[in-house]
């Protein structure tokens, strides 16, 4: 969610019971602005909070002029001092997917890779087991969550002919009927399914706003819950694949955003639970 609209947004996403204490809220208001100044970000997003066993990580992301470029991630343990995280690489993400269990809450905690296969153990000559630091796992988890369930409403961003992506200044919000449909929301990452659409569908697309994958064809179907809260004035989407991710949008206004409050674990039992 935009740092500027943090207080209002927290009120709207509080339906799941998770939020921030007044102390953290006040600290964020000041420290996110300072982040913008220090790192020269154009926009700062408060991404959310990953709860570890003994502490929590608060994550913020900074955006440059091209909003679709890889975002810089920063984390903090107390919402006051922030540290920049290294960008995520495919190996780190693959390594982190093998880890199970909660985050510990200590960024220098090292996970022992106890799932070394017996075959590999014979081949590997060095006795070093690949260890993973919690910081790297954090980076990988943020990347995974953004890739899988980071969403925006359709029409909120436009792609210019030069390829860069900006906010759409003429976006006035989705209507109530549109807001209840999953096809009005896009994943805010590199599109995967766009090329596979039939020519008929592609003819209807508007190249400036429909350049991302919509949520309609997410696997498994039903992994999003769409609800109207606060008496039908806010549309809240919650992801069931990464429980804790909440997206809100007030129809017919420009307010939208997503935030993650959770333990940073994927819900692999989803097919059994639907």
């Amino acid at each position: 969610m935009e740092a500027a609209s943090l207080p209002a947004a927290l009120e709207l996403t509080a339906g799941g019971g998770a939020g921030l204490s007044p102390e953290k809220r006040a600290a964020l208001g000041a420290s996110l602005l300072l982040l913008q100044r220090d790192y020269r970000f154009e926009r700062v997003w408060f991404w959310g909070c990953i709860r570890g066993v003994s502490g929590a990580y608060y994550i913020a992301q900074g955006l440059g002029p091209d909003r679709a470029a890889p975002r810089s991630c920063l984390y903090s343990l107390n919402c006051v001092e922030w540290s920049l995280l290294p960008p995520a690489t495919e190996e780190v993400v693959a390594q982190a997917q093998r880890l199970k269990g909660r985050f510990q809450g200590d960024p220098s905690f090292e996970y022992e890779n106890s799932e070394v296969n017996a075959e590999d153990a014979e081949i590997v000559e060095d006795e070093k087991e690949p260890v993973m630091k919690e910081e790297a796992r954090l980076v990988a988890t943020i990347e995974q969550i953004d890739r899988a369930v980071g969403i925006i409403p359709r029409g909120a961003f436009v792609k210019t002919p030069s390829g860069s992506v900006h906010e759409n200044r003429s976006f006035e919000g989705l209507s109530l009927t549109e807001a209840k449909k999953l096809s009005s929301y896009f994943h805010f990452t590199e599109p995967v399914n766009l090329k596979n659409k039939t020519l008929l569908e592609k003819a209807d697309l508007d190249a400036s706003t429909d350049f991302l994958d919509s949520l309609e064809h997410d696997i498994p179907p039903g992994s999003w819950t769409v609800q109207l809260e606060k008496g039908g004035t806010v549309v809240v989407l919650r992801s069931l694949l990464w429980p804790g991710l909440t997206f809100y949008h007030v129809p017919m206004t420009k307010q939208y955003g997503y935030v993650y409050f959770g333990t940073g674990e994927k819900n692999l039992d989803l097919p059994f639970m639907l």
Binding site: E23, S54, S170, G232, T233
Partner: protein, 552 residues
């Protein structure tokens, strides 16, 4: 004005100006022809389009009017969008013969319901209010919400207040002794807001009587049907099966064990409260094996394996019972056991009642956070059987024992071992962790201002369950999806193995039908045997006759 040039050699424009090629030479010098050119251009702009009927002159005028009125920043970048908006506005007006009916959005209805919460019920006199202010079962939801908010837990203030009013309505409708906001469980289509309630003594009997009447009527119908069947069956009865189903473990009485509290749910504050049925041990046992999301509709079926005995209302009630038993904690010393005279119970089931301790001395927040032994469970844990108090299903009553002495004793099924759970008021330090994860995480709500910090407990086994303690105040709440945490993936129960077929032996093996030759051969052999037998008889008769003749 004076024309420029010809330039003198000392002037800067010298050499650049050539007659006929000056910067303004292509303009029509004559004023009249200039006016004509302007009118021609304007006539062209005023030409209506053949497809849409608009003309460019009006469109540009409208666009410029809009831009000058609104003065957007960087108008040149969004000029196409502005043009599109102006055209769209034009289009709308032309189709105005059909007027849109004023949309009655569902949001308006929802707002009506919430407004109804704020209206005072009719007939509430001021005198009644004064009496009630003294002792009211209504909990101070906003106060509890404040303490949880210090840890970042809780709903928005609006929603908390709506729940507050909804609870007040519930209390005015039902005869309630104590009431508490238990928490919120999220669902796919709608969410559940849950209130934990205890009825006033004597108010619950009405419902039990209704249940008994229903069962009596049901039994009468079953008896009638049985009589008819027995007449038919006496002639040809198939062999009775020797299968005896496992005895059903009865649910605990209302007001004890897992059914100590009654739960009311509603989807949104403003909607009517629905009472959840009491929970049975079979439902708890099954709920432990399945993991399903709630849809938000109480009558939705729960499709699972093993098949859940009930619908979503029962599953919800079972999960609530498990969460309450696992995560409702209080600071040590807040509750104490009531003094009992008889401490010996049958089978050592332990104490299951407690009362508030009037001499409770609260511990400091630092102590509450440092060690988990300063918190205790105040809800009985649920045994494997699904009940809080163990029930021996094979315990025979006195009548049955007398009958058995007279009749032959049938085979006794295996006796179940009595299950004993941890006693009430066990400290949390006794809770087992999950692998290397402790069962609870404790931390103060703030490090900045330790004087006013609140001790917060988060459950790791049931993510979403929280407890706070500050001085003499404490409370528990649950916000989540209603499932237990397991580091391993959920493996559903496998279906039972395929039943074995009847072992094949000679008595049921089909033999081949005899062929024609075999039948004829068999027939011939039989006739030969008969003929041989007749000859013997004839011989015997002849011999007898000869003997008789001889005698004569």
């Amino acid at each position: 004005e004076r024309e420029h040039g010809p330039y003198q050699p000392h002037e800067p424009g010298y050499g650049l100006y050539q007659p006929g090629y000056g910067p303004y030479d292509d303009q029509i010098p004559d004023l009249k022809s200039q006016m004509l050119a302007i009118q021609n251009a304007k006539a062209y702009l005023l030409k209506s389009s053949t497809t849409s009927g608009l003309n460019l002159y009006d469109h540009l005028a409208n666009m410029l009017t809009k831009i000058l009125d609104e003065r957007p920043a960087n108008a040149v970048d969004i000029i196409e969008n502005i043009s599109k908006d102006v055209k769209w506005a034009q289009f709308q007006k032309k189709m105005d013969t059909l007027r849109d009916e004023h949309e009655i959005l569902p949001t308006f209805e929802a707002a009506e319901k919430r407004k109804a919460l704020f209206l005072k019920a009719n007939g509430e006199g001021d005198e009644e209010l004064e009496e009630e202010i003294g002792e009211t079962p209504l909990p101070n939801v906003m106060e509890t919400a404040f303490y949880f908010e210090q840890a970042g837990i809780g709903l928005s203030k609006d929603e908390s207040y709506h729940i507050f009013l909804a609870l007040k309505k519930l209390i005015s409708v039902q005869p309630i002794q104590t009431c508490r906001f238990w928490g919120k469980i999220l669902g796919l289509e709608m969410n559940y807001i849950i209130a934990e309630v205890q009825y006033r003594e004597g108010e619950e009997e009405e419902e039990e009587i209704e249940e008994e009447e229903v069962t009596e009527e049901g039994e009468k119908e079953v008896d009638e049907v049985k009589d008819e069947d027995e007449e038919d069956k006496k002639e040809d009865e198939p062999p009775k099966s020797t299968y005896k189903p496992l005895p059903i473990i009865p649910k605990e009485e209302n007001g004890t064990g897992a059914n100590k509290y009654v739960y009311f749910v509603c989807n949104e504050p403003g909607k009517p409260w629905v009472k959840l049925p009491p929970v049975t041990p079979a439902q708890i046992v099954c709920a432990r094996k399945i993991k399903k999301f709630f849809t938000g509709r109480l009558d939705a079926p729960v499709v699972s394996f093993p098949p859940f005995p009930g619908n979503e209302a029962n599953y919800l009630r079972a999960q609530i019972a498990r969460i309450s038993a696992g995560t409702h904690v209080s600071p040590i010393g807040f509750y104490q056991f009531a003094e009992e005279e008889d401490e010996e119970d049958e089978g050592g089931t332990g104490r299951n009642t407690y009362e508030e301790n009037p001499d409770f001395q609260p511990l400091s927040v630092a102590e509450m956070v440092d060690s988990l032994s300063t918190w205790v469970h105040h809800v009985q844990s649920i045994l494997e059987q699904g009940r809080c108090v163990w029930f021996n299903p094979f315990q025979k009553s006195e009548e049955e024992e007398e009958e058995e002495e007279e009749e032959e004793k049938e085979e006794e099924p295996d006796q179940l071992e009595q299950e004993i759970g941890p006693p009430l008021l066990t400290p949390l330090s006794e809770d087992e962790g999950i692998e290397n994860l402790p069962a609870w995480t404790a931390h103060p709500s703030t490090d900045m201002i330790p004087q006013y910090a609140v001790a917060i407990l988060q459950s790791n086994r049931w993510p979403g369950a929280y407890a706070f303690a500050s001085g003499t105040k404490f409370d528990n709440v649950y916000f989540g999806w209603g499932h237990k945490y397991s580091p391993e993936n959920h493996t559903p129960a496998l279906p039972l193995p395929v039943q074995a077929e009847y072992p094949s032996g000679p008595e049921i093996t089909e033999t081949r039908d005899p062929t024609l030759e075999e039948e004829l051969a068999f027939k011939a052999a039989r006739e030969a045997a008969l003929a041989a037998a007749e000859e013997e008889e004839d011989d015997d008769e002849e011999e007898e006759e000869e003997e008789e003749e001889e005698d004569d």
